[in-house]
C-alpha cells in the first residue's frame, strides 16, 4: 500500500514499503556448512584466490562466507550457532552508498541492487568500513597477476568471460550474479515477457545441495521465496534489522 507523499522528488512510497525486485531466503536449518556456495560463487564471479599467506592474515576475498560462532564460553557447555551464509544483503537503504566520494558504490533503481562500479573505484575503502555486514572485499594486490601467483595461471582458463577481472585497489562485492539476471532479462525481453520466478538462479543457490539458499523475485507474491518466508513467519528475520538497512535477504532462524 503506497503512501502518497505528494512531494516533488520524493517517491510515492515509504522506503519500508518498497518490496524490492530480487531477493533470497536462506534457511539456516537446511544449511550444512559445506561451503559449496563459496566455491561456486568464486568460480562464477572470478573472485581472486589470495594465497596462503594473505588468507591466513585475514584477506580472503569470498563474496559469500559461512559464519559459525561459539554460543557459550565454558568449555563443556560448548554450543555452536547454526551456520549462517553471509553475503551482500543488497540493502535498500545501504550505508555503503552515500559515503563513496566518486559514485563507485551506487544503487540500481531498476533492479534494486547495490552496484559496485569497479573502474570508477579509487579505493578509499569507506564503503567497506561502513558496511554493517562486512561483506565487501578489497583487492589488496593484483591477485590475478601471474607474477604474484605463478602456480595459479592454469586456473585463468576457467574464468567466467561474462564477469570482469578486477585489479588491485578496487572494492568488490556480491552482485546477486547480475550477469545471470541480465541474461535472463534479455531473453525474456526478446520473447516479449517478464522474467519468471525460478527461470534462473544465482551461483550460490544453484550449488546449494540442500536448497538452503533460494533466489527469486521479491515483487511477485506468488514467488517461491515469498511463499517460504510467509509460511515460516516465526523463523524469518533480517540480519542486523536494528541498523535499518532494509536488506533483501530473509534468514530463517535455525535450531529452534
Amino acid at each position: 500500500m503506497a503512501t502518497e507523499l505528494g512531494m516533488p522528488g520524493v517517491p510515492n512510497q515509504l522506503e519500508e514499503e518498497s518490496v524490492g525486485r530480487w531477493g533470497m531466503v536462506i534457511d539456516q536449518d537446511l544449511c550444512t556448512g559445506c561451503q559449496a556456495c563459496v566455491a561456486a560463487c568464486s568460480m562464477e564471479n572470478n573472485v581472486p584466490i589470495v594465497g596462503e599467506e594473505d588468507a591466513g592474515y585475514g584477506r580472503y576475498m569470498h563474496w559469500i562466507r559461512i559464519e559459525r560462532l561459539w554460543d557459550s564460553k565454558d568449555y563443556p557447555e560448548v554450543k555452536m550457532t547454526p551456520f549462517q551464509p553471509m553475503l551482500c544483503q543488497q540493502c535498500h537503504n545501504a550505508p555503503c552508498e552515500p559515503v563513496c566520494p566518486v559514485y563507485a558504490s551506487v544503487h540500481s533503481m531498476s533492479e534494486d541492487l547495490n552496484l559496485q562500479v569497479y573502474n570508477r573505484c579509487v579505493g578509499t575503502r569507506y564503503c567497506g568500513n561502513n558496511c554493517p555486514y562486512q561483506v565487501r572485499s578489497f583487492n589488496w594486490r593484483d591477485y590475478n597477476d601471474e607474477r604474484i601467483h605463478p602456480e595459479l595461471v592454469t586456473l585463468h582458463n576457467q574464468m567466467n568471460p561474462d564477469v570482469t577481472v578486477r585489479r588491485r585497489g578496487v572494492m568488490e562485492k556480491c552482485t546477486f550474479c547480475i550477469q545471470r539476471i541480465h541474461k535472463a532479462e534479455d531473453k525474456a525481453k526478446s520473447e516479449g515477457r517478464d522474467v519468471q520466478d525460478g527461470e534462473f538462479t544465482t551461483a550460490c543457490a544453484q550449488a546449494c545441495p540442500t536448497n538452503a539458499i533460494r533466489f527469486g523475485r521479491l515483487d511477485d507474491p506468488e514467488s517461491q521465496i515469498n511463499q517460504i518466508a510467509a509460511t515460516n513467519p516465526s523463523r524469518a528475520y533480517h540480519a542486523l534489522e536494528e541498523v535499518r538497512t532494509l536488506p533483501r535477504i530473509t534468514y530463517l532462524k535455525g535450531g529452534v
Binding site: L69, C121, Y126, D142
Partner: protein
Amino acid sequence: MATIAKPLARPRAEEHEDPRQYLMHDPLPRGQMNAMVMEAMHETNPIFWGITGVLAAIVLFALGYEWYILIMQGQGTAGVLRPDYWGVFLVNTVFWIGISHAGTFISAILRVLKIESRRPFTRAAELMTTFGLVQAGLSIFMHLGRVWLVYWMFPIPNERRIWPDFHSPLMWDLMAITTYLLCSTMYLFLPLIPDLAMARDRTKGGWLKTFYKTLALGFRGTEGEWKNLTTAMNIFAFAIIPVMFSVHTIVSWDFAMASRPGWSSTVFGPYFVIGALHSGMAAVAVVLFLLRSSMKHYKYFIRAEHFNTMGTLMLLVSMAWAYFYFNDYLVPWYGGDVWDKLVQEYTEKGPLAYLWYTMLIVNIAVPWATLWNKKWRQTPWLLAIVGLLINVGMYLERYIIIPVGVTINRMPFTWRQYEPRIEVPMTIGTFALFLLLYMLASRLIPLIPVWEVQEGQEAHMIRKIGKAEISTLSDLE
C-alpha cells in the same frame, strides 16, 4: 596615533622582578635585531647539513622507494585487512591535521585576543600548520587504493559529466583541507611580507636576493602599505578561526558519520578539535625548544615567559581534552549498547590495552602533574619532554579510534587484529619530511616575525607612578 597608557599589572613590592627578563621590556636597536635574525638564518654548520642529508635520505627511501612499492603492489603491502579497512595512513592524516591546528590557533586567536607573549613565535607555529597539512595530504594519497586516479575526487568538469558525490564525508574533508591549506598559506605569507622586505634589503645579491625581491612584492614600508597589510591580516585572523574549527570537525565526521560502533558519536566534532589543539600545542612547545637550542641568537627571542605561556595553554587544553574524552566515554558506557560496550571492553582489556593506559597517562596525568608549577613550565627541556609525550599520547588516541576501534564491528566472525607493515617506514618518512621542510624553511625565511617583536617593544614601556614601576602598553591602533 594616540597613545593611551594603561597599567597592565601592579607588581607587589616583595616580588619585584627585573622587567628585562621579558622580551617586550628588553628592546634592542632595530638594526641589531634584524642583523641577528639574518645571521641566524644564513649561518649553517656541518651538523645542520648532516641532519638535513640524513632526513633527505629517509624521505627519499620512505616516500620514494616505499611508496613506489605500495603503489605498484597495492595496499596488500600495508597491514590493512577486512575489518580494519583504514589503518595507520589515516591515523597519520588525523595526527598531522591536529598538529597543523596549533599554528592557526596560536597565531590567529592569540593575535585577535592581543596576547602579547605570542609575538616571537607566531611564525614558527604557522609554518607547522602549512607543513603539517602537507603531510596530512600525502597520507591521504598513501591510503588510496588507486592513487593515480585521485583527480576523480576533484570536481573537474569532464565529458562524461560524472561529478564527485558531495554526500560523502570524504568530499567534505577534501574541500575543508584544501580550503584550510590555502587560507593558512596566505595567512603565513601576509605577516611574512615585511620580514621578506627586511631580508631583501639585507641580502647582497644572488638567487636569494631574487627570491626575497619576488616574494616581498615591492614592500617599502609606507604608511599606506602598513595600513593595507594590517587590514588584510585582521580579516584573515578572524576569518581563519572558523575555518580551523570546521576542518577538524569535518575530519571527525569521517568517523562520526559512519554507522560503526565506537565511531558514530555526536561529541566527536568538538572532541577532535580539542584533541587537535592538544597535540598541536605540545608540538609547538617541542619546536620552540628545538629552535631555541639550535638557532643562533634565538635565546634572546624565545624566553622562559614564552614557555610559560605554552605550558599554561597546554595545561588548559589537557583539561579540556580530558573533559571531552570523559564525555565520549561515559555516554556510550551508560547507554549500554552491546556493540559500544564490546568496543570499550576491547580497548581496555584487549591485547592492545596498554595503548589505552599509556594514552591516559601521557595525555592527562603527565601534563597535570608537571605543568601546574610555574618554575617547571619555564624550563624549556621539561616542556619539550612533556610536549613529546603528549604527542605520543595523541597519536595513540587516533590509533585507538581507527585501527583498534574498527576491529570490533557488528559481525564477530570478521574480528581480526590489524598490524602495520609498510606503514611504519612511511610514517617515519612523513615525520622526516616535516622536519626537512622546516629545516630548509629556517634557512630561507626569518622564523621570528621581527617587525612584530619590534612593534611590541615600542608599545611597551616601564613607567614610574609614585614609587611603583608599572609595565604599560600603549594601544597602537
